[in-house]
């Protein structure tokens, strides 16, 4: 079971890396989101998924029996939230780029060295 999950994570991350190498900005965006998912699957494997018992100490007992690892699940939840936020931020950047250049090709992204030095200096308030 662990091997299956680990393989799934590896395949997802490999697909994600392939997509990030693309020139299409939306593919890069989806690739990054996919990569975050792949790493989350890996974090899930790391916690060990043999036991389904919640990590609660039974009434009247002193020690916790075998149980699922809550830390790795907390890590996954945090990583999902962060990955989601970053995906949204990158999506707005890509949208902004598409609106200003009309292109989703990474080669059309203007770099500073190509930029004419014509912008006016903003007057201080």
């Amino acid at each position: 079971m662990i091997l299956l999950h680990a393989l799934a994570a590896a395949v997802i991350i490999a697909c994600a890396l392939y997509m990030i190498l693309s020139r299409n900005l939306v593919r890069i965006l989806l690739g990054l989101a996919l990569m975050a998912t792949g790493v989350n699957v890996m974090l899930f494997v790391v916690g060990g998924n043999g036991v389904r018992q919640p990590p609660l100490i039974r009434d009247g007992e002193q020690i916790l029996g075998p149980s699922a690892d809550p830390t790795s699940q907390a890590l996954i939840l945090t990583a999902i939230v962060i990955g989601f936020a970053l995906t949204i931020v990158l999506a707005t950047i890509v949208l902004r780029g598409w609106r200003s250049t009309g292109s989703l090709d990474a080669r059309d992204l203007e770099a500073t060295e190509q930029q004419r030095d014509a912008e006016s200096i903003e007057p201080a308030s």
Binding site: A36, S72, L86, S100, A111
Partner: protein, 487 residues
């Protein structure tokens, strides 16, 4: 309880300040005053933290949520972090002064103050945390704040710069997260000190080796080491100038601090098989980026490549791995943060006077503004490593550690890179300051706020140059703290 306040203040003050600055952003002058106040308060809090950190009393540590130490997430005033918090606050203060002239009402309405305070809070959090996963969270928070800052003007080239930064930053962060996950699976803890203690006794396994490699590549990408440096000059150059100055000081050094903490502190001798890799990365960074500076005519890209080249020297200190090497790397971080920020502020002032980022169209600064040229000479000479400024000591410590550590070739590479740096700095000096201005019109006056912001950092550089002893003692204590992590 007192320790808790000291430890939390450098993070809580800027973060809560950022929340209020976001509410005030439509009142530009009020917002400016508020963020200035918050920045000064952060500097005071950072000073108190450093005073506590160099105290011989037991390590100040606070763990949140009532967990015992080693399980919960906490903050600790350990040394390379605590001294860097002070430098972060100092750079933020200088940037806030400079921003009075550089950041106008439109950029403040776009959220400059809130984002900048959030960035400072996030960097401070990363410097103080005791938890590996928490470190990753602070990195992501800093990344989001940095993206907002690059996009302040929403120009087309800024979209290009921000996309580069976001894609490289997210790939690096994912590599870091994967490394953290593997390390957690192999050891069952995320607390840095417990990790170090477990890894010292446990023989290296496939999982820990892969985790070390992933963390190395992730943090190397964040700090801009050689094969991963291409995004950095492009995205820094597109940011507004004050923002670029703060990035140059904070972002790469935050990445390098994490690299130092994880490689020297957590893995310690266990990462010995990776130190040749770090050595090659360091040498390549120093040489390639110093060479690249010679080919630039845009001042922002020129300084951007210098920023990366300087990270190479710090990585050389890490690769040497001895106590002297780690102390030299810590010293170099402090020197470099102050100098790089000051250089960016300086070229911003030159741009204000001449109206161009292009070296060919700049010039005549010596005649038009000798006071500014004096302030700008300090970081330039320090970058070139001219005694008695801070850069001389920093380079000397690296060279001495390299020779003593049996890495003569590294010392040679550092010397060649230093020569190239001198050529580049001399070129910048001749083009921007000495040469008569190619444009006929009168150079514009540089605002006092810009000079005052630079003066803060120039004075700090001169102070370190004339009295390197206190900082060197702190750097040696930092190296000891890193090597003894987990004992």
């Amino acid at each position: 309880m007192n320790d808790a306040v000291t430890l939390l203040a450098p993070v809580a003050v800027p973060l809560s300040g950022a929340a209020i600055a976001a509410l005030l952003r439509n009142h530009a002058s009020l917002c400016r005053a508020w963020s200035g106040l918050m920045t000064v308060l952060t500097l005071l809090a950072a000073g108190a933290l450093l005073a506590r950190a160099i105290d011989p009393a037991p390590l100040a540590i606070v763990v949140f949520g009532g967990w015992p130490q080693g399980i919960g997430i906490g903050f600790a005033a350990w040394l390379p972090g605590a001294v860097l918090v002070v430098v972060v606050a100092l750079v933020a203060t200088a940037a806030a002064i400079f921003a009075i002239a550089d950041i106008g009402a439109r950029r403040r309405r776009a959220g400059y103050d809130a984002l900048m305070l959030a960035l400072v809070g996030a960097v401070n959090g990363a410097l103080l945390t005791t938890d590996l996963f928490n470190l990753y969270v602070w990195f992501e928070l800093a990344l989001v704040a940095a993206l907002g800052l690059i996009l302040l003007d929403r120009r087309r080239h800024q979209v290009g710069g921000a996309t580069r930064y976001a894609v490289f930053g997210m790939v690096g962060a994912t590599a870091i997260l994967a490394g953290i996950g593997l390390l957690y699976g192999a050891t069952g803890t995320l607390d840095l000190a417990s990790l170090a203690a477990i890894l010292k006794t446990q023989p290296p396994s496939v999982a820990t080796s892969v985790a070390a490699a992933l963390l190395l590549s992730g943090f190397a990408l964040k700090s801009g080491l050689a094969p991963f440096h291409v995004w950095l000059p492009a995205s820094y150059a597109s940011a507004p100038l004050t923002v670029a100055a703060v990035f140059a000081a904070l972002m790469t050094k935050m990445g390098f601090y994490a690299l130092l903490l994880v490689m020297a502190g957590v893995f310690g001798a266990g990462a010995a098989q990776l130190s040749p890799v770090i050595a090659i990365l360091a040498a390549a960074t120093m040489l390639l980026c110093a060479l690249a500076t010679l080919a630039q005519s845009d001042m922002r890209r020129l300084i951007g490549y210098h920023v990366v080249a300087q990270v190479g020297y710090m990585a050389a200190g890490l690769a040497i791995g001895s106590a002297a090497g780690l102390a030299a790397a810590s010293f170099y971080m402090v020197h470099s943060m102050i100098v790089q920020a000051n250089l960016f502020l300086g070229i911003g002032a030159i741009r204000r006077a001449t109206g161009s980022w292009d070296l060919k169209r700049a010039g005549g600064m010596v005649r038009s503004d000798p006071m500014f040229v004096f302030l700008f000479a300090v970081p330039m000479l320090s970058l070139a490593g001219i005694p008695p400024l801070s850069g001389f000591w920093a380079k000397l410590f690296i060279l001495r550690a390299a020779v003593a550590g049996g890495m003569g070739w590294m010392a040679l590479v550092a010397l060649i890179a230093a020569m190239l740096t001198i050529v580049s700095v001399a070129n910048l000096w001749a083009e921007a300051c000495w040469k008569a201005s190619p444009i006929k019109r009168q150079a514009r006056a540089i605002p006092h706020a810009m000079r005052a912001g630079m003066a803060v950092l120039s004075i700090a550089t001169i102070a370190i140059g004339l009295f390197p002893q206190p900082l060197w003692i702190v750097a040696e204590a930092s190296a000891r703290a890193l090597m003894e992590l987990g004992q």
